[in-house]
Symmetry: C2
DNA sequence: TCATTTACATACAGTCTGGACTGTATCATA
DNA sequence: TATGATACAGTCCAGACTGTATGTAAATGA
């Protein structure tokens, strides 16, 4: 009898091969993490209940509890996943602007649209807010921030140079990131023209002292942490 | 028998006069609103349950339900209260820096310490995050933002002037507010030196093109909305 | 092939929340 | 001072959430 069911499934899925335990686990974790980040962005931290997450992931409550014994564990891993996604986005973003005409404007626009005006950033905001009352989460997010900054800093100094100021490109871009954070936080409360004018305003203000180095089109020297982080993504 | 209890209270408080209904209501509302904002800042939006709020306010569940039929109503009124407090802080802040030596630095520092690195701003962050899923709250906060900006804009253009840029002082300060928002959001995740350097970095960058007008020590022309908002504070 | 581990499913227990509801004391006023 | 309105207190309840305990099927390894 235990032979029949698999045979039927084979007929339907056309793929009789059953996945290995590891594959199953990984796929399940991925679904749970994606659903968690989605839920954080859409339903907020408070609205992200385990029930809603597993419903969104289309799995059972038991699957979640098997892979993550507590809600805290799931959220911590989701933070880690958020970091990895951010790394990858930042990487492709930096590569994509390396051939742009007006690199500064392109970088600002791309950062805004692909990193801060996104559901992923909303999820980040929720986690940051929650980290105010969760020491463990605060640790994780703090480490995450430092790692992203450590990646971005050399890249910024590689692609750009400053003149007539004591600030290095990395300092300028850290300012930009704070600006974008603030804009992103209140994006839904501000009008589009205001946001647009803030983005352009920063570019206009930064252009005289911050410019892209000429002839740099190859990717920057990647810090070791870059690959180290990504290697576990699979 | 109903005579005795009041008499005893009189002996204790030394003030036999019973408050009028209106006084009682107002005092109770004030306690509830203060407790709500406190709770938002400390316990977060999710942690701000009605039970915790009334416990913090030291009143009964019945008192809260009498003045605010729903949690939503309480939070909306708390948002309004947040606006009023912000108005007042901004007002005293603007007055306090009018006699400072380095007005720009003083303004930035004061804004940071008295407005963004405060529990009140944490409460604001919680409300903004929650407003993502609450249209009514979003409306209220949006209106609040616009009103604060409407107050700040003429004041900025009154105290300061720009040169060598198309941006007006108000645009610069809007940028500053976004920067401070972003810093404030992640304040607990960033190191103090990073924050300090960002504040100073903005001042250094803005100084060449933004300076305080000479000899302006009197308060700016207040917009009508200023008094209109404050008159209900009592 | 069989025992053991892993992956997942379901049911349940205990806690908490928000809103409804009831009761009581105080105030305003005619 | 009688009467209705207001201010507050305390309790109850239906629903939701998390963690746990238990059951089953699939995969792994000997």
């Amino acid at each position: 009898m235990s032979r029949i069911a698999p045979a039927m499934k084979t007929a339907i899925t056309e793929k009789p091969r059953r996945r290995t335990q590891e594959e199953r686990s990984e796929a399940m974790r991925k679904r749970l993490l994606a659903a968690t980040l989605e839920s954080l962005a859409e339903d907020g931290y408070a609205g992200s209940t385990l029930s809603s997450i597993v419903r969104r992931a289309g799995v059972s409550r038991g699957a979640q509890v098997h892979h993550y014994p507590s809600k805290q564990a799931l959220l911590l891993d989701a933070s880690e996943d958020l970091l990895k996604r951010t790394y990858r986005r930042l990487g492709t973003l930096l590569l994509s602007i390396s051939e742009e005409d007006n690199r500064l404007q392109a970088l600002v626009d791309a950062c805004w649209e692909q990193m801060f005006a996104t559901p992923l950033y909303r999820a980040y905001c929720e986690l940051v807010a929650a980290s105010q009352r969760d020491e463990e989460l605060a640790q994780a997010l703090g480490a995450m921030l430092r790692r992203v900054m450590a990646l971005f800093e050399p890249a910024a100094n590689y692609y750009f140079e400053t003149s007539g100021t004591k600030l290095r490109p990395a300092d300028m871009f850290l300012q930009l990131s704070c600006l974008l954070s603030g804009l992103g936080l209140q994006a839904t409360l501000l009008s589009k023209p205001v946001i647009r004018s803030q983005l352009d305003g920063w570019v206009r203000q930064a252009s005289p002292i911050l410019r892209a180095r000429k002839g740099i089109t190859s990717p920057p020297p990647r810090p070791a942490s870059w690959d180290r982080v990504l290697e576990t993504v699979g």
